[in-house]
Symmetry: C2
Subunit: 227 residues, 2 copies
């Protein structure tokens, strides 16, 4: 039975994307899916779709803090908001970080493993230990923690400023917009040639239903023997 | 073991509220909870919290149509959007309908059963069969289908225009705002004297975790013997 392709569009600036990312990374060993990581630029999707950050509504912001705290515990993801979320998310933003991740994706086209590790290290910085993700030194630290060599990090930092990578990030972001995206995470499950699009990290039970799999909570146990 | 009080703030103009309402009505026989229905006015919550309807972002509107269709099927709720959602939701709105439901709640203070039935009949009209919910004749039809007598419907239509009922609806709406609400459904679970607030109809698994119960999908089977 061929594996269903599932694309995950995300940006490390988005905490709900982190939750969705970890859950799908766990489930790619449980469900019969071919998970494709699609690092993209949330700022572009918000701007082009005319969407506004939910945190601009004060009560929504307060709710998100509680919601993320509860979900982080339940999902088993060490998520903790930065001390100044507005500065981290909107003033500093994620463009250099997502170009860096895109450079990793460009250099390792056939293997998502490093994209996964680098993305996770960047999330840990902005959404767990309240560290910068905009400066070259910050990206270097994340790259080294993800297992890259110093020379490869240097090469990737250079590649991240190339037109090729800028265009690639724009292109992946456009793909999310082509799927009528308005925020991240955006998960696109290809089912019988038709894309089934899910926004957010709260539709996994429904997603499982759509792709003919079973949802057993955010921390599934990997089956010891695959069928 | 005393039952945990769970309050559900809702408005029949909100399709996600219908999904949440049906699920909680099913689970009140499965979980050890005392479900309190809190009919309120969504327009007031949106206005006072400074929130905007999600459907104003075109991609979000398109997504909601798909999302609701998929959820309705999965949840087993006969939800189908009205032909002109903007007219039904924003131009006509739900104020007369929610005053009518509030009149039912005022007259039957100790029993939610009629509030439940009348609310469901109103949801069926606006979110299933594309019928009006603003005219007295429409409210009458819904009331009769819910099992009320013609004379009681007449009495309730009168009560719905009273200051008592107007104030009660305002008061319940204010309670939702006191819980920092910004939309419906808003579910407040009272756990160890602390309110745990959930927005939307996609946090039931987390809600179950918070109140020490088990989520087994949107259509649980009622246990044959209660413990």
């Amino acid at each position: 039975m061929s594996r269903k392709v599932v694309e995950l569009f995300y940006d490390v600036v988005s905490p709900y994307s982190w939750l969705g990312f970890e859950v799908l990374c766990r489930y790619r060993n449980v469900w019969n899916i071919d998970l494709k990581l699609k690092p993209a630029f949330l700022g572009g999707v918000m701007h082009s779709s005319g969407n506004r950050p939910p945190g601009l509504v004060p009560n929504k912001f307060l709710y998100m803090v509680t919601d993320l705290h509860r979900l982080a515990e339940y999902f088993g993801v060490p998520l903790s908001p930065p001390s100044n979320p507005a500065e981290a998310m909107f003033e500093k933003g994620s463009l250099p970080a997502m170009r860096f991740v895109t450079a990793v994706a460009e250099k390792h086209k056939d293997d998502d493993a490093l994209v996964e590790k680098v993305s996770r290290e960047l999330w840990k910085r902005i959404w767990s230990t309240d560290q910068d993700i905009t400066q070259p030194a910050s990206l270097t630290e994340a790259g080294l923690k993800a297992g890259l060599s110093a020379s490869e990090v240097e090469e990737l930092l250079l590649l991240a400023t190339s037109q090729t990578v800028k265009d690639k990030l724009k292109n992946v972001t456009k793909q999310a917009l082509d799927h009528k995206g308005f925020g991240f995470p955006l998960t696109v499950c290809h089912v019988n040639g038709k894309p089934e699009v899910f926004f957010g990290s709260d539709r996994f039970e429904l997603m499982a239903h759509c792709i003919g799999e079973k949802w057993v909570g955010p921390q599934p146990t990997k089956p010891t023997a695959k069928m």
